[in-house]
């Protein structure tokens, strides 16, 4: 490290130090570092600033202007993405299952040039039996269902009828089995299920329609799109782990909008960044302007515990130290009774409880306190 930078080692963030080192010629480091430090101190938040509340106001106020519209992709039926306020709520609540999971799959070179992009996309798309079937025939006499397969589609997906039969057989489980007969899939009830009669057969017929045949589970739609000078694949449905297994997928850049999946596959830091990106993107597309640091604070709060917690009574709020603060946010009686069972003590160290008691809140001018040494 440059000698003039040494004294700022613990005073400036690592990233800033690195930037100065890399971008400033050695003779000017001292002056630049001085100025950077000055600027850094000036842009820090003052002690006692109510950052959380200001963040809440800063996200909440523009939230009132957001629309409830969903965004539709041109050309694809039923592929839309939740945006606007519902999406923000969804992210901040830390929902486990989101309303419109979506991935943006980037491809490695040379796959991203657009050649055979449709075939690559079809490999990812989850194919169910109903998509390759043309006809279902119920044969009551033999207690079986004949499913006619579309051979054109099979060719397109590079599937053999045998593969289909195997996949459907697996999906049907214990009650029924599937065999192939030419281009017809024959579904027959197994002996112990046969006794249940027509109902069981009908159920098997309905069940086989949704049988997984090929592709990545959960990816219901694929859409190749040109982004810049490369092609990417946008999907409805998300399955990060399985998609990463394809060797043509660029796992460094591929993203999903499912925060929980990001945490499971890539870890908590990635989840934090995903929250920031997703929220910021929504706010940006709505034409609003919110400082990213407010969102970063929210993301930090949600991920601080190593897992993604929503801003709900089960998530972040349940971790509050103050009984009164928890009770003032939804289901008060439950919180109070549990607190009293545990004999909890409220030390009145935060804002809400002090407002309730009409005491000075430990924020802003209420924070500093006088400490003096008394003469003996």
């Amino acid at each position: 490290m440059h000698k003039d930078l040494e004294k700022y080692k613990d005073k400036l963030p690592l990233k800033l130090l690195q930037d100065i080192e890399e971008q400033v010629p050695g003779s000017k480091v001292k002056k630049v570092a001085e100025k950077v430090y000055e600027e850094y101190l000036a842009s820090r938040v003052d002690p006692g600033e109510a950052v959380g509340l200001i963040g809440a106001e800063s996200i909440g106020e523009p939230g009132t202007q957001m629309t409830l519209n969903t965004f539709h992709y041109a050309g694809v039926a039923e592929m839309n993405v939740t945006v606007g306020l519902p999406r923000i709520i969804e992210i901040l609540d830390g929902r486990k299952s989101i309303s419109t999971p979506k991935m943006e799959i980037f491809l490695k070179s040379p796959y991203n040039k657009g050649k055979n992009i449709r075939e690559l996309a079809m490999q990812i798309k989850e194919t169910k039996l109903k998509e390759i079937a043309t006809e279902y025939g119920m044969n009551i006499v033999d207690m079986r269902v004949d499913v006619k397969l579309d051979s054109d589609k099979l060719d397109e997906l590079e599937l053999t009828p045998q593969q289909v039969a195997k996949a459907v057989d697996k999906a049907l489980g214990l009650d029924a089995g599937a065999k192939i007969d030419g281009n017809t899939l024959v579904i027959k009830l197994k002996e112990k299920a046969e006794a249940k009669g027509l109902n069981a057969l009908y159920r098997a017929k309905e069940k086989c329609k949704g049988a997984y045949v090929k592709g990545v589970k959960g990816i219901s739609q694929v859409l190749p799109v040109k982004r810049g000078d490369e092609y990417i694949i946008i999907t409805a449905g998300s399955n990060l782990k399985k998609v990463f297994e394809f060797d043509f997928v660029d796992s460094n850049r591929t993203t999903t909008n499912d925060i929980h999946e990001v945490r499971e596959v890539l870890g908590i830091e990635a989840a934090r960044q995903a929250i920031i990106d997703e929220v910021f993107q929504v706010i940006e597309t709505q034409g609003l302007n919110v400082d990213i640091r407010h969102i970063m604070l929210v993301a930090d709060t949600m991920t601080a515990g190593g897992e993604v917690k929503g801003i709900t009574r089960y998530g972040v709020v349940s971790g509050k130290a103050s009984v009164l603060a928890r009770a003032s946010f939804e289901t008060p009686i439950k919180h109070l009774i549990n607190a009293s069972l545990r004999g909890e003590v409220d030390r009145l160290t935060s804002v809400v409880e002090n407002v309730m008691l009409n005491q000075i809140i430990p924020v802003g001018t209420g924070l500093p306190q006088l400490v003096s040494k008394l003469e003996k």
């Binding site: 109510a50 809440a56 106001e57 009686i333 009293s340 003590v345 009409n358 209420g366 924070l367």
Partner: protein, 600 residues
């Protein structure tokens, strides 16, 4: 085979539904079927529905046959001469009523010019697409549809002659306009609805200009002289009611002058207006706190033995008095009985309401505004011919709202006033703007409706020519006198010791959760504490067990209900709401213990 349903119930099938429907219609027009019957063929469901039940919304249309309306010139002449009436036309099958379902099968032409052989009906008039209220708006075809709705809402809220038997009525919260007029610029609906029998507005001279910034943001300037001459003057009526209720045990209320030893007796001053029967005399001037109807009620709880022994004298005062901020003159006193035969006394108060700053006015185009300033007549702008406007309306209210009809009415009103005739401004068929301009020109005025005007204060001529003319303006029932409210200190709620809510209870204006957040965001701790100390209390707290101790002022002792007397007790300042929530915790079976620690 098409299924036929009569009032939703299956009755049979027909082979050719269209023929069947046509036959029903023919029979109805010929009179062999009741006129109330409507028939509808649903192509999608392939069902015929015949409806004859009540409760369907139906509207009249002229029947069209082979591209020709059945209503002819002959009919119209006969109507004009009074030889036939509307019901004759209906009976002849010239006009028929369709319900919503049958309308689905009809093709209705808006005017006779656009009739083609496909058309089945003709609109009686183009304005039938509008309701009665909306039809009252002049030049409704020159205004944004949303504004048209706002306009008709405005008319509904206007004060006027709401009922001709108003002196006999005991309506709650009504106003009566003193000098109502019929508008100069009318629509056909005014005659049809006999509007002149219950008018709600007045024709005044309006200038569209700004005036010293006092008509910013939709405010209007009103000429004080016009008000003194009676513009917008109205009377506000509000009845007060008292009833002699019967209680169990043969006890009952008594309307009359309360005795001095009655529980809750007010001062003698408050009862001064009551006559021997305990009711105010008519034309008495009453103000806040004055009793209008004297009444006493039996004691609330009879179980108490003490009260039995003193039975006669412990009646409760329950008079009807004027609430905070109310005043008026007793207009009418009615003594009668209610359905149960109990004595019922109603006293109607009257209050003269002269327009003041803050009262609301509206034109018929949804251009509402509040009075921003009353200007002495001498200071009002005047025209060359000496015309002084009664009201000054801001030009900024026009472009974004696109109420062209407002401007047209002004032009029409001016023409009407100058020519001495009423202008027809019916939507879709009103007198065209060009005709008004021409007439105005012939009357010797600028055809654009503008005039040179002079500053009333300085006498200087205004650079711009001012658009002035006559308009029909309405006074809305929203008056500041009923809304003005302020509080510095006042009543508090019993339970929380926080200020009461609402104007009627002289309440405070709540500084709510989000308003609190702004103080927190500024870090203004002390301001926040001070702002929320309306229910501040000091309570003694036992240092031993942490519960709230008891202060016995009589014995000048303080003790803890748990630890007894020999324990340290400290005074703690907190919000009463917190003391209350501690009590609520106790009622939940929780033990909230306060741990005390010196802050410094």
């Amino acid at each position: 085979m098409t299924e036929v349903y009569l009032n939703g119930k299956y009755v049979g099938d027909v082979d050719s539904p269209l023929e069947f429907v046509e036959r029903v219609k023919q029979d109805r027009r010929a009179g062999s079927l009741a006129g109330e019957v409507n028939v509808h063929y649903d192509k999608v469901l392939d069902e015929v529905h015949v409806e004859s039940a009540r409760g369907r919304c139906r509207r009249p249309l002229v029947v069209v046959k082979d591209g020709m309306p059945l209503l002819t010139e002959r009919h119209i002449k006969q109507l004009e001469r009074g030889e036939i009436s509307w019901s004759d036309l209906v009976a002849q099958g010239v006009i028929e009523y369709l319900d919503a379902a049958e309308e689905e099968n009809a093709l209705v032409a808006l005017s006779d010019k656009e009739i083609t052989p496909e058309h089945t009906h003709l609109e009686v008039s183009a304005i039938s697409m509008l309701g009665v209220m909306t039809g009252l708006i002049p030049y409704g075809d020159f205004i944004q549809s949303a504004r048209l709705i706002i306009g008709s809402k405005g008319i509904k809220q206007a004060v006027g002659l709401y009922a001709s038997n108003y002196p006999l009525r005991m309506d709650m919260d009504v106003s009566l306009l003193h000098y109502p007029q019929s508008p100069l610029v009318k629509t056909a609906i005014y005659d049809v609805s006999r509007y002149a029998e219950h008018p709600v507005g007045q024709n005044i001279v309006v200038a569209i200009m700004s005036y010293k910034g006092y008509n910013m943001e939709d405010a209007v300037i009103i000429n004080k002289g016009s008000i003194q001459r009676g513009f917008g003057r109205s009377t506000y009526f509000r009845p007060a009611t008292a009833m002699e209720l019967r209680y169990s045990g043969g006890l009952m209320d008594n309307i009359g002058l309360p005795d001095k030893d009655v529980k809750g007796y007010k001062s003698e001053q408050d009862y001064r207006l009551l006559e021997d029967d305990g009711i105010v005399y008519p034309e008495a001037k009453v103000a806040e706190g004055d009793v209008i109807i004297g009444k006493t009620s039996p004691p609330r709880f009879l179980s108490n033995m003490e009260e039995y022994s003193l039975a006669s004298n412990i009646r409760r005062e329950s008079s009807v008095a004027l609430r905070h901020g109310e005043e008026g003159i007793v207009d009418f006193v009615a003594i009668t009985e209610n359905e149960e035969g109990n004595k019922l006394v109603q006293v109607r108060l009257r209050d003269l309401r002269i327009p003041e700053i803050g009262d609301k006015f509206v034109s018929r185009h949804g251009q509402k505004g509040v009075v921003g300033l009353l200007v002495p007549e001498a200071d009002m702008p005047f025209s060359e011919s000496g015309i002084v406007p009664d009201l000054i309306f801001s030009p900024h209210g026009i472009p974004s709202r696109m109420t062209i009809s407002h401007i047209l009415e002004l032009l029409g009103g001016k023409t009407a006033a100058l020519s001495g005739r009423e202008i027809d401004a019916t939507t879709f068929s009103g007198e065209p703007e060009a005709a008004l301009r021409e007439e105005l020109c012939n009357l010797g005025f600028d055809e654009r409706g503008v005039e040179t005007m002079y500053n009333g204060v300085t006498g200087e001529v205004y650079q711009a020519k001012i658009y002035v003319g006559n308009m029909y303006y309405l006074r809305l029932k929203h008056m500041v006198a009923n809304k003005i409210h302020s509080r510095a200190r006042g009543p508090i709620q019993l339970l929380t010791r926080q200020p009461t809510e609402g104007r009627a209870k002289e309440g405070g204006l709540r500084l709510g959760e989000m308003e609190k957040d702004t103080l927190v965001a500024h870090g203004a701790s002390m301001v926040l504490k001070e702002r929320f100390d309306s229910d501040k209390t000091v309570v003694p707290v036992c240092e031993g067990c942490g519960t709230i101790a008891i202060q016995d002022s009589l014995k000048d002792k303080r003790y803890c209900p748990i630890c007894g007397e020999n324990v340290e007790i400290s005074d703690i300042e907190m919000s009463y709401a917190f003391k209350l929530i501690l009590d609520e915790f106790k009622s939940l079976g929780l033990y909230p213990k306060l741990k005390l620690r010196s802050k410094y």
